[in-house]
């Protein structure tokens, strides 16, 4: 298999030393440069000055929490957020002429960056069976085609409804309601591919799928772990919280296979010391861990804590907490003592002394927070790793107290809220019962398809219609060629989108582009101007309201499109007032308030400045688990290994990238410019493999299914990755991730720890 994404010629690759700090003045310059390239100074100003402010736009860039109203900066955004919001607010437009000029197959040969740069979609388009061009279609007709295809299916389960984390609570609620009234639980979402492992591990051990910390906890923690995450590029506003924590005396341990700039030092451009000074050192201790070694690291740390307790009984573990609030401690202790230090060394690449120094940091700290992201969740053993992190937190009672807790750092801005609204293929009966009571129809009970299983079902012809609420499913999903084959085998694919992406070009017999309003734009419906709501990574629910005029008068909101589609498809089935929902989103929120726990008085509470915070049971002394207590777990030891001559590859994003969309070919912090077709390998491994910087290689993944997956013609960059490992950009290397290579339990694609070999290109 070859990398299926066609490309324009890239610039000449140039490599400079990796940066040792993140943000600062260059971040401001780059953000403004990109913003002004996309749109006017006035629109840039409107966007940026209302972004993450009370009554303004929630930045779609990430799900990091905002400071409380009254404590926000006038400029409460980061470089990537500014780029992202103005990428959406671009003045460039795609019209019918564009699609007359460019065939679908031609567009399929374009890069992600080129497609994104063409501007905003402005009118509904259809690609009819046998045609290679999109053509304009009236909204009524477009929705008629889609509704007709849905109603002609033999079973509702032949349709899949995908949701991206950009969707608002209101749109997500309406989509799941429509899908279930239609008769299916096939509701895959981007969560399936990013933090599904967190949800499963935390639900099992703590009784909640959400993180337990707020910004105040981070600010007042004494020790913070940043594990498998790159805040400088993927959640830059987290750096402000870490800076405040450092100012309050916190220490930070960063654990990552790459020494990212944002883990080292942060120059806050809103503070004098960030502009002219040295900024704030972030990590006090950096553990240069091998990909996938985190499970072994936390198992080793937990053993060291048990041994410290043995040496000084009663001084290390929080016995009161363990006795009163946890289960499974004795079994855990027995299992934990079987740690083998040679295995730990092999799995982590760290020495015992390095880990003992971290233990000492832990013993000095009364309040500990552990943050993690996809460097953990996307491993095959992501769920056990997070369970082991929970073990670590439980041992010293670092849950449910101020300044402590578990912090899965989520990416897309409403990825958490969409789940809360019922976008999940396995919703519990309590939620379905509430839907039934409220709307008078019988929701389907069998579990639906997640992202990976949707691809399999499409490929096997069991799913014939694919509707996406935002996102770029084809590029976000693993095993690119398999995913594309699956999409192409559908009878109809439809995308509710703001901008063009590869998912519009790899499509079913019939394909629809349903252009929609962006976050930045005014949303005026029959009952007046509307706002939507979102839930951030720290369970705070608040409003988002755009101020710009829509990119086209023909755009409909996500809610409007879904309500109209539901009316056409369901034709009176179920007592659901779709027209009222479209006219006044407050009526949707009234229903959410009656169905989703924690949302009582939704309309009243969400319009308060800053919105409201959903309660977290862990912080109220409740562990809603199988045992009724926080659960220690015994996790089998895992030593990720690559055969001789192979490396463990992790896919990652560049700094100038948002999800599947690269804004430029540069990765400023890592010092890589002009090309994304690079593979980062450390110099010792290069010597061992007889390769050198600048060599062109194919990345070939070694999979259990025996299929050779190849990402062709990548330039080698000598980079301080952990020994034995490599890194390359997502989504270009998704082609290397087998569809069946998933995290145990969560079924999340395992995009980290891929065993690859590097073969000279053209060999």
């Amino acid at each position: 298999m070859q990398n299926p994404s066609g490309q324009e010629p890239e610039d000449t690759l140039s490599v400079t030393p990796p940066k040792k700090w993140a943000a600062g003045v260059p971040a401001v310059v780059h953000a403004l440069e990109y913003s002004l390239e996309q749109t006017s100074p006035r629109r840039t100003g409107v966007d940026l000055l209302t972004m993450n402010q009370v009554g303004g736009i929630d930045c779609p860039g990430c799900a990091w929490a905002d400071p409380k109203p009254g404590n926000r900066h006038r400029n409460e955004y980061c470089e990537n957020g500014a780029k992202h919001i103005n990428d959406e607010a671009t003045t460039r437009r795609i019209t019918a002429d564009f699609f007359r000029e460019h065939s679908v197959s031609e567009l399929a040969a374009r890069s992600d960056m080129w497609l994104n740069q063409q501007g905003r979609l402005t009118e509904p388009m259809i690609k009819r069976p046998g045609s290679d061009h999109y053509e304009p279609i009236a909204w009524q007709d477009a929705l008629g085609v889609l509704a007709g295809e849905l109603t002609s299916l033999d079973s509702p389960d032949e349709a899949v409804f995908y949701t991206s984390g950009r969707a608002s609570n209101e749109a997500a609620f309406v989509l799941q309601l429509f899908a279930r009234a239609f008769g299916t639980n096939n509701l895959p979402d981007c969560s399936n591919m990013c933090h599904e492992s967190s949800g499963f591990a935390l639900s099992e051990t703590l009784g909640t799928g959400k993180g337990t910390v707020s910004l105040d906890d981070l600010h007042h923690a004494e020790l913070i772990f940043l594990v498998g995450q790159n805040p400088g590029s993927n959640h830059p506003r987290q750096l402000s919280a870490l800076e405040e924590a450092k100012r309050n005396g916190a220490r930070i341990v960063a654990v990552n296979p790459l020494p990212e700039a944002g883990l080292r030092r942060f120059k806050n451009p809103q503070k004098p010391r960030g502009v002219v000074g040295r900024g704030t050192q972030i990590a006090d201790r950096f553990l240069h861990i091998k990909p996938g070694g985190d499970l072994a690291l936390f198992q080793a740390l937990n053993l060291l804590l048990l041994e410290a307790e043995d040496a000084r009984p009663g001084t290390v573990l929080d016995h009161d907490f363990i006795d009163a609030h946890t289960s499974g401690f004795d079994e855990f202790v027995e299992h934990a003592r079987s740690v083998d230090w040679d295995e730990v060394r092999t799995a982590t690449g760290l020495t015992r002394e390095e880990i003992e120094k971290v233990r000492d940091e832990v013993l000095r700290s009364e309040r500990v927070v552990v943050c993690w992201a996809m460097g953990i969740t996307q491993h095959k053993h992501g769920v056990p790793t997070i369970r082991e992190i929970v073990n670590f937190l439980l041992l010293r009672g670092n849950l449910g107290r101020a300044g402590t807790g578990a912090c899965p750092v989520r990416g897309h801005s409403n990825v958490q809220g969409d789940r809360t609204m019922g976008i999940w293929e396995q919703m519990p009966d309590a939620f379905l019962d509430a839907l039934q009571k409220e709307f008078g129809f019988d929701p389907p009970r069998p579990h639906g398809l997640d992202s990976v299983n949707s691809i399999k079902a499409m490929r096997e012809g069991r799913v014939k219609v694919f509707l996406a609420l935002a996102g770029n499913f084809v590029r976000a999903a693993p095993d690119s060629e398999v995913t594309e084959e699956a999409m192409r085998s559908c009878r109809l694919t439809a995308h509710i989108s703001t901008k063009l992406n590869r998912s519009h070009t790899v499509c079913g017999d019939t394909a629809l582009i349903l252009p929609t309003l962006g976050r930045t734009e005014r949303d005026v419906q029959a009952d007046g101007e509307q706002f939507v709501t979102v839930e951030n990574s720290m369970s705070e629910v608040h409003t988002s309201q755009g101020r710009l005029e829509p990119a086209s008068r023909l755009l409909l909101s996500e809610v409007a499109i879904l309500c109209r589609l539901a009316r056409r498809t369901l034709d009176g089935k179920a007592d659901i007032p779709w027209d009222r929902f479209e006219a006044d989103y407050g009526t949707i929120r009234d229903r959410i308030a009656r169905i989703v726990p924690g949302f009582h008085d939704f309309n009243a509470r969400v319009t308060r400045p800053g919105g409201f915070q959903l309660p977290n049971p862990v912080n109220e002394g409740v562990f809603d688990t199988a045992s009724g207590k926080a659960m220690f777990s015994c996790n089998e030891r895992v030593v990720p290994r690559a055969p001789e001559g192979h490396l463990l590859l992790q896919t990652l994003r560049s700094h100038d990238q948002w999800n599947t969309v690269p804004y430029t070919l540069n990765d400023r912090y890592r010092g890589i410019h002009g090309s994304r077709h690079v593979v980062m390998v450390n110099s010792a491994d290069l010597s061992r493999l007889g390769l050198a910087q600048g060599d062109h290689v194919d990345l070939v993944s070694v999979a259990a299914d025996g299929t050779e997956r190849r990402a062709a013609d990548f330039s080698i960059v000598s980079y301080p990755t952990a020994p034995g490992s490599a890194a390359a950009y997502y989504p270009e290397t998704n082609v290397l991730v087998p569809l069946d290579s998933v995290a145990d339990i969560s079924n999340q694609p395992a995009s980290k720890g891929i065993v690859v070999r590097l073969e000279p290109s053209g060999a």
Binding site: E196, G207, D216, N248, R401, R419, P428, P597, G621, D624
Partner: protein, 182 residues
Amino acid sequence: MAPAHDSRPHVEETVEVAVPVRTAYNQWTQFKTFPRFSTVVHDVEQVRPTVTVWTLGYGPMRHRFAVEIVEQDPDTCLIWRGLDQHPSHQGEVQFRPTRSGGTAVTVRIRLEPRGVAKLLLGSSKGAQVVARPVRRELLSFKDYIEGVGQEGGAWRGTIRNGRVQHDHPEPPRSRVARWPVG
């Protein structure tokens, strides 16, 4: 009360309020209402049962700090500590019934000043600088609760070692989504 060997400045003030202990205690747990009677508390944000963020103000000056409640027993006491390190403090409020059916409310605050603040507050006279406003605030609380006669709400939970003890008849689990978040 601060132990005899504890050299850190501390203040202790008591007022008697003419309402039952339960009423006084319940009203005290409604932290967000403090600005209604206080002259220095401008805003209180309840992050969760154990964590509040207070904004105090003197004239144009504002000071915002987070507080963790580490122990709380209904109708008996609350013990808290400041989460910020500079300056830090610990405090306690006790509620005791009086013979007349009222409540003796005692506030103790132990300061851990640094730098210049340590010089200013390190003496017994310095501690009086803090004691006066504490007493003033207690008297304001007295005026308020005696004036309105009954509490405006209550939180009757128990906190031990900074953790809410789950002993409510109706657990909060019914108020939150239980499904995993990916």
